[in-house]
């Protein structure tokens, strides 16, 4: 029999410490929807999504009610659109956005191109359409993979993405560049990621799959309050125990959703995903370890410990683990990160260092509106290099805040939060970015 103390602990985690399941994401293969006529393809896409995902939201809500755990988002990820569109991808974008709205999901990911080695004609068409599509749709998310450990970095794609991000920001300037919050540039993108904006259903995935992302920075922070001043061995152990409990609930939700929807279970993403709510911050976990403010010397080491312990604790709690597993450090979606950036403790350079040891990368960062396309490309190239060399996923989701300068504030609302505009190194790199071509894949012996 479960003891009273255990029940109270679970209730406290949910009611006071913001523990929730962040997302149930249904991955859907759309390869069979392809057609030479974009309108026919768009119709097939719409029909297939509506057929497959019909019960996703109601089933999610029932599980939420029965288990008494919030499931914040129900989402859909699809095959990268560049793989199914043989012509103009824009009708497919509109169909995806309509399907997302019809199914009641807040985001649908997969307006994507995988071009780490080079671009197909479809990739080029998709890339060119991104600014228009992200400014003309509400729920659609786009991602582009520009590098991988095995292929190197496609610097042509990196150059283009700098321009596309700028253009997307300008087209959505009245919403503080919201379009860019729905656009991720990846190195080593994963095929089963349930988190937006970078979710897509990779070609190695089954016909459809349920992928679940858990959360709970507040729970970890609270657990660490109990071990103040104790050595890091104790800190790591405490994080592991907490991550285990969090992930077990993610696994339970994934199993329930899979059974009720009759769709195979894919993975649980062992993540610590923050929100802008107070008490739901990854930065505050780092500060609980003894840092005055995130960004202070020691931050990277603290994050390395946290990221590793979350995985070690979570991996035993789930049958299958995947996605972007690890601690997320988005700036605008984490109140501790927002505060640290606001007071100058957290800089872009320190964030870059932090991305070497944690899940994903430079996420939800607002930069001055006059940041050039080549500077943005340079930031993407640096981040991609970290991913490529370290054999990990990295990403850039950066928002040029049109008409704003460092220290101003951008506001996206909801889970996307708000952020101070961070200063950027403005020394030129135009000649570097203009070269294009490919940075070769790195050697994986002689590791120094």
């Amino acid at each position: 029999m479960i003891e009273t103390g255990e029940i109270l602990q679970t209730l406290r985690m949910i009611q006071e410490e913001h523990f929730d399941v962040r997302t149930i994401t249904l991955g859907i293969n759309l390869l069979d929807c392809s057609d030479r006529d974009p309108e026919i393809c768009a119709r097939r896409v719409y029909d297939k999504i509506c057929r497959t995902a019909r019960d996703l939201v109601p089933v999610g809500e029932r599980i939420e009610a029965e288990l008494g755990i919030p499931i914040v988002n129900k989402r859909i990820s699809v095959t990268p659109v560049s793989l199914i569109c043989q012509g103009d991808p824009r009708p497919i974008a509109l169909a995806l956005d309509r399907a997302a709205s019809e199914m009641g999901v807040n985001f649908l990911g997969g307006y994507s191109a995988l071009m780490h080695k080079g671009a197909t004609l479809a990739d080029e068409r998709l890339l060119a359409s991104i600014p228009e599509v992200l400014s003309g749709t509400e729920r659609l998310c786009a991602s582009v993979n520009v590098a991988s450990t095995r292929a190197g970095i496609n610097m042509n794609a990196v150059r283009e993405m700098g321009q596309i991000i700028r253009e997307t920001a300008e087209r959505t300037a009245e919403k503080d560049g919201l379009g860019c919050a729905k656009l991720v540039v990846f190195a080593n993108a994963v095929e089963d990621n349930p988190f937006m904006a970078g979710a897509f259903c990779g070609v190695g995935e089954p016909e459809c799959a349920i992928n679940v992302g858990v959360s709970g920075p507040g729970v970890v922070k609270r657990a660490l309050e109990e071990v103040k001043g104790q050595p890091f061995d104790v800190v790591a152990e405490t994080v592991k125990r907490t991550a285990f409990k969090i992930t077990r609930v993610g696994q339970l939700v994934a199993r329930e959703a899979s059974q009720r929807l009759n769709i195979p279970f894919g993975i649980v993403d062992l993540s610590l995903a923050p929100t802008p709510a107070r008490g739901d911050s990854v930065a505050h976990i780092l500060e609980e370890m003894g840092l005055e403010s995130t960004g202070a010397p020691g931050t990277t080491a603290a994050l390395a410990l946290l990221n590793d312990a979350v995985k070690k604790g979570g991996v035993m709690a789930s049958n299958h683990v995947g996605g972007l597993s690890g601690a997320f450090i988005p700036v605008s979606e984490d109140i501790g990160m927002i505060e640290a950036a606001g007071k100058g403790s957290l800089t872009l350079e320190k964030l870059e260092a932090m991305t070497c040891v944690c899940s994903v990368g430079l996420d939800m960062i607002a930069v001055p509106g006059d940041t050039s396309a080549s500077t943005i490309s340079g930031i993407i190239a640096d981040e991609a290099a970290i991913g490529m060399v370290n054999n990990k996923t990295t990403a850039v989701r950066i928002i040029p805040a049109v008409g704003k300068k460092a220290g101003d504030r951008v506001e996206f609302g909801g889970l996307l939060g708000f952020a101070p505009v961070m200063p950027v190194n403005t020394f030129g790199n135009e000649e570097f970015i203009a070269r294009g071509g490919r940075i070769p894949a790195p050697l994986h012996s002689l590791r120094n």
Partner: protein, 90 residues
């Protein structure tokens, strides 16, 4: 057996357990275990129940508790025991 936890929290008053138990009895929900305490004037009760005898589903039972929530002005949550088992038992 379909086990669920019903947690009841709020300001202490007379007859809380009686009211909840009566409603559960009407729904043919069997009470397996009860623990109750008063913490700083706050009433906290946890009831482990078996829903398998009830003629209606989880949602309907939960909705049937709604009038009691309003009458007693207390937080009453019902959730399947699976979440506690998952979290605390390997």
């Amino acid at each position: 057996m379909q086990k669920a936890l019903i947690s009841v929290t709020g300001l202490d008053a007379t007859g809380i357990i009686a009211k909840v138990a009566t409603k559960l009895s009407e729904l043919n929900v069997n009470i397996l275990d009860i623990s109750q305490t008063i913490l700083g004037g706050y009433f906290t009760m946890m009831m482990i129940v078996d829903l398998s005898g009830a003629p209606v589903d989880f949602d309907s039972i939960n909705r049937a508790l709604e009038p009691i929530r309003e009458e007693l002005k207390m937080e009453i949550h019902m959730q399947r025991m699976d979440i506690f088992d998952a979290m605390h038992r390997i």
